[in-house]
Amino acid sequence: MSDALDRELGRLPAGDHRAADAAARRFTERALEDGLLDLAYAHVPSPLGDLLVAGTRRGLVRLSYAEDGTEKVLERLAASVSPRIMEAPARLDDSRRQLEEYFAGRRRDFEMPLDWTLTRGFGRRVLQATARIPFGGSGTYTTIAGAAGSPRAMRATGNALGANPMPIVVPCHRVLRHGGGLGGYTGGLHRKRFLLQLEGLLPAEL
């Protein structure tokens, strides 16, 4: 006698995905409006693949390439900044637009507040010195180490650049080896080459 009841109760959740999705969208909007998110992220397509862009109330805090893995990057942000993180592209509209303009060749300088939370000490000084290299210009590991206050800390400088949490916007691709060699790059040398070509520092490939 309970079979019919069981079956009928089992039908209760049928359908209604549309209502559930609409409710989810409204929730994200409200979380954003009420200022309850510590971090918002968005996916931004680019010639270098999908970029993951994340910001706090203070500004851009993380930009990562596809190989870093969305989940891994978000987990680290949850652990080191705050777990109150949601996909909310609206909050990153300005950063997304500036990145699109940059890749389209219509923007030379990024004008967005940066949140340096993920950096500290010497590493932060290295990256802040790097952030001052203008579009079309370049630095060397030596000059950056010097600008950060320790001209001989070449290896630490390389490590700090390799751990740059905001590549492209903090232009570590503009730091080259003394004598003109490309050096390394977090996102792979093909990306460094692409960015330097985009900025006119390397001749475009034929």
Partner: protein, 155 residues
């Protein structure tokens, strides 16, 4: 391992919470209860113990929000209101409206136990956690709820 990013927690549990709320609070109230549930969850999230049963935790919040909504509806109701049949929320598609009404008329704990068992598929131990009682009491609530439905539901 720390807490998962809220977005992942949300994606993993939002469907179960929505189903639970449609079933216990009614389709008309489900959306508001859903918003209230996850706003409360988002506020409290960073203070949560990473080892917590996140699904049980958020259903507990949803259960409380559904009860709040139920009480608020009771306060709004007046003797001159429409007959209860009209005031009852629309049943989800494909579900027998008569049984739906009976589920909604169960006392809150029995209703939650029935829905958590049959909609969210939770074991007794977790049902107990959500409605805030012992495992035995959860079993009893489920049993009493089902008996009542069986007695009153005729097709």
């Amino acid at each position: 391992m720390g807490l998962p990013p809220f977005q992942r927690f949300f994606d993993e549990h939002r469907h179960a919470v929505h189903r639970f709320l449609v079933a216990t609070a009614g389709r008309d109230e489900a959306d508001d209860c859903f918003q209230e549930t996850f706003i409360a969850a988002l506020r409290a999230y960073p203070r949560l113990d990473p080892g917590s049963n996140l699904g049980g935790w958020v259903l507990t919040i949803a259960h409380r929000k559904a009860i709040d909504a139920h009480r608020a509806r009771g306060r709004r109701a007046t003797p001159t209101a429409e007959p209860p049949e009209h005031a009852a929320p629309a049943p989800p598609d494909g579900f027998d409206p008569a049984l739906w009404r009976l589920v909604r008329e169960l006392p809150p704990k029995q209703r939650a136990a029935v829905v958590l068992r049959h909609v969210a598929d939770l074991p007794h131990r977790e049902i107990a956690g959500v409605i805030g009682c012992s495992e035995d009491a959860a079993r009893r609530n489920l049993h009493e709820g089902l008996s009542r439905l069986r007695k009153e539901w005729t097709r």
